[in-house]
Amino acid sequence: MIPAIETTGLVKVFGETRAVDGVDLVVEPGTIHGLLGPNGAGKTTIVRILATLERLDGGRAAVLGHDVAAEASEIRKRISLTGQFASLDEDLTAAENLTMFGRLLGMRKGDARARTHRLLQDFELADVADRRVRTYSGGMRRRLDLAASMIGRPSVVFLDEPTTGLDPGKREEVWRMIRSVSRSGGTVLLTTQYMEEADALADEISVIDQGKVIARGTPPELKRAVGGQTIVVRPRDPARLAEATVVVEQALHRRPDATSRDVLTVPVDDDAAFGTVVRHLEGAGIEMAELSLRLPSLDEVFFSLTGRRTDDTTDSPSPHTAQDDAA
């Protein structure tokens, strides 16, 4: 089977910088592949080369078996790109935007309108279809961007940081739609700075650093490789923190850290530990305000892979912990 995306030794140079420095990728059709890395790692450049927006300086890249250098127009018929910034016309309404893109893809007016109508419903934008994109919230824009990407029924969808800047609730909404894009048969290549996002969506992850792939694997493989998961326990009654500490220590044979007056954390290596902790705490009858297994942040992933911190920490993800009543 021809891979949806295949690159060998991909290189892109900007001046002195090797933005992409020998990247090999293979993405099987129908899967979601995540490019995980900090700002400036080269993720966006890889996507732009594959979407035929940027010329490569070395190596080879093919999308659906078509060479990006030689058969760009063949590729453009079969892909879509959603950039980091909502790439829509702000002065037009959602419906006008989608119809325009449909028409540019060769649809007749009526077909483009029908397709627009359908997509706006699918992406839950039907009631704001005639509002200018200018007035949209961040989450609505991302959804519309995704809808615009689906207009031409692309076989490969490139999503460049599809949820950057969205708050967690909106992020999950967009994730849900990305999953359904993939389920309808398309291949998705997405870039992200969030381990959480790569874990939630990707079948396979490539970790990118300074233009190179420094690790790859399925999310479980990657998590095993980097370790660094943490169980976070917050008793409903802060007075019972000491009691909880003892219970957790007995369960895991490992001393938890009291990170604040009412929270304790304990690093764990395998996923089963979480269940053990849950059972022990339930057995002890300690009610929880928060109980979560936190994934390593991108920063922690990087630290364990490279031994150094990512340069950019401003965009580091807020750990998505469930703040809810635990039974």
Partner: protein, 315 residues
Amino acid sequence: MNDRSTTSHADRAPVPDAPTGTAEPGSDRSSTSATVTAPPPETVLTPRGVIRESLILAQRSLTKTRRNPGEQMDALIMPIMFLVMFVYLFGGAVADSRDEYVQYLFPGILVMTTILAGLLATGLHINIDIKKGVFDRFRSLPIARGAPLIGSVLGDMIRYVIAVVTVFAVAYLMGFRVETDLASALGAVLLCVALGFSLSWLSVFIGVAVKDENVVTTVAFLGIFPLTFGTDMVAPKETLPGWLQAWTDINPVSHAMDATRGLLLDNPAAGSAASTAASTAANSVAESVTATLLWSAGFLVAFGALAMYAYRRRA
């Protein structure tokens, strides 16, 4: 994939299959497995394709103009301001009467109007579009590379119409009268539009080549002043200093000023050094029109090619 989840939280529940629960985005594909090999939509890169795509994108520019009527003001205020200012401030001093002066001045202002409309809007819009990312999406579509540029320029032509009509109306209120006939007046307008259109490609080139939108506006103004004021627009050429006369002689916009005067006025000789004798007036109008059209064609080819080149490079 759910191994990080907590015990029984609602937001960890399995996510419904599709946004609406019934339909998936893009799910009107015939079948899932066919997707990867599905034939792409019928899009061919042909001259007809370029025209079709450019017109679709011109439609977009038109809609934007309709939604932002305020943006028109840039291209309207300047010519009207100069018209009013020169006629009422200097008209009495420069010519025998204000009525006479408005007849002299307006044909030049008409040229200025379309040059302004051409240089001010399109390049700036394209510059902003490129930064906002909508051009990235255009470029990743299987459409002609130049279509977004051509579409923007074509769509912005409505601005010339609005500007010319408004400026004409103001001049009429100020006492300007067409001394020839309707056909000649229309000819003058079309000529001005042709010149403005061809010069708009200069602004497109700058808009594509330069990152900072302020630079785009600055360069446009830097071009507008020598091109329009370095002519006999406001005063007869003989009254200008020698160095300015030299520039006026080579400034292509001078031809357009001569041509519009010839097309709008009975006796344009008063202002035009080119036509010294009444008998040669008709000839010299034809010459000025031809010269203007040739220059416009030259600008169109040169700046159009530069713009396309810069656009391709800014991939």
